[in-house]
């Protein structure tokens, strides 16, 4: 169910990525580890933070080695740091600044494990782990969602292009003015919603005609 879809890559999946965790059990473990590390960043006492920082550093190095980009993390970290430092300077003076910096580092350490997970684990395996926690119908829905992601990206792009060519004021520079958002909703999101309504109906019918929901304990294709 979670086999990689061929053809053009989904718009938000990064190209040329090598996932080191391709086994479901390891992936489940990685998910638990990430959950633990992220929670640790919020809950661990100050004295344990060095160890957590070391583990996060290792994750950063491995993530970078596997081709992950640090730009997103850096942008969030620097913007958070700037805002928090400014607030601390204004409200508490320079003596309490280290407290603010530590807090921002904790926020960063809550994010690094999630960043590493998206680089080390293949989306298919994460989906497979999640599907074990869901009822059969919702497993099917989640798989269908991943399946239509490339289609949805292409559909969004094509409808957007169609409407720009029809003269709609929805090009990026126009969207800086919120009065044009109305046009974006009606020209692009509204036709997309119509497509989604139709597609969900058609897929539900197709699945029902192929006996979906008939057996109380459906089996699984073994490959």
């Amino acid at each position: 169910m979670w086999a990689r879809r061929g053809g053009r890559a989904p718009i938000i999946c990064r190209p040329k990525r090598h996932f080191v965790i391709n086994d479901v059990r390891w992936c489940a473990l990685a998910l638990l580890l990430v959950l633990g590390l992220s929670s640790g960043a919020f809950l661990l006492p100050q004295t344990w933070l060095h160890y957590l920082a070391l583990i996060n550093l290792l994750l950063l190095v491995q993530g970078r080695y596997l081709g992950g980009r640090l730009k997103g993390l850096l942008v969030i970290f620097t913007s958070q740091l700037a805002i928090t430092s400014l607030l601390y300077l204004l409200l508490h003076g320079v003596e309490r600044l280290p407290e603010g910096i530590t807090a921002v580092c904790r926020i960063l350490m809550a994010m690094i494990p999630g960043w590493w997970l998206s680089i080390a684990c293949s989306p298919q395996r994460i989906g497979e782990v999640l599907s074990h926690c869901l009822p059969h119908k919702w497993t099917f829905v989640l798989a269908a969602c991943f399946g239509i992601l490339p289609y949805l990206g292409q559909e969004t792009r094509e409808i957007y292009q169609m409407q720009v060519m029809r003269g709609a004021n929805i090009r990026l520079k126009s969207l800086w003015r919120p009065r044009h958002w109305h046009e974006l909703i009606y020209c692009v999101l509204y036709p997309l919603l119509i497509q989604l309504l139709k597609l969900s109906k058609q897929m539900a019918t197709a699945a029902r005609l192929r006996q979906f929901g008939r057996h109380p304990k459906p089996t699984h294709w073994p490959f």
Binding site: Y88, L91, A103, M111, T156, H182, L197, L199
Partner: protein, 179 residues
């Protein structure tokens, strides 16, 4: 609003709304560096789910599915915390719906739900801030900022949803009398 289970059509529509929400979030990230802009997309799609499916729990399911997809695809860099980011506002909306009188005009229902979602979203930041050890004043200021900007975007989305739902209904694309 009824409480019968979700048929496959409903379930797929909820899932596809979550997919579109995550896909658009992925496309727009970094392009709009405005604080709280994610509340626009979240409020819009959650309210569309509420209007088009019309069953209790539709919004929560959309939020949880969006969280799972974002976590799986690595959008937002929060890992499992993304489940909370997408799920919390959605669950808050569903709880609010249990208390909200259904006689209230759809526009006002959407506005109240959007504001409740923003409070839940900003509260998540507030709790995180307190947990990481930020001072109460700083946390309160950041909470106020999130609430202000988040509410603006969420309100904008809430105002756009009723006409969209009305249009879908008048074109025979959804069949919900109460809308």
């Amino acid at each position: 609003m009824n409480n019968k289970g979700f048929n496959l059509h409903d379930a797929l529509f909820i899932g596809f709304c979550a997919t579109l929400l995550v896909a658009l979030k992925g496309m727009l990230r970094l392009k709009l560096g405005l604080s709280g802009h994610s509340m626009f997309l979240m409020s819009f799609f959650y309210l569309i789910c509420y209007g088009a499916v019309g069953k209790n729990g539709a919004i929560s399911l959309c939020g949880l599915l969006a969280g799972m997809m974002a976590m799986t695809l690595g959008i937002g860099k929060g890992g499992p915390l993304l489940l909370l980011k997408f799920g919390l506002p959605a669950i808050a909306m569903d709880i609010c719906l249990l208390l909200l009188p259904s006689l209230l005009a759809l526009k006002w229902r959407c506005i109240i739900l959007a504001l409740v979602a923003t409070i839940a979203w900003a509260s998540k930041g507030l709790i995180e801030g307190l947990l990481v050890g930020l001072s109460a004043q700083v946390v309160a200021l950041q909470f106020a900022k999130s609430l202000l900007f988040g509410s603006l975007f969420a309100l904008l989305a809430a105002m756009l949803v009723p006409p969209v739902l009305e249009r879908l209904r008048s074109h025979d694309l959804i069949d919900r009398e109460e809308i």
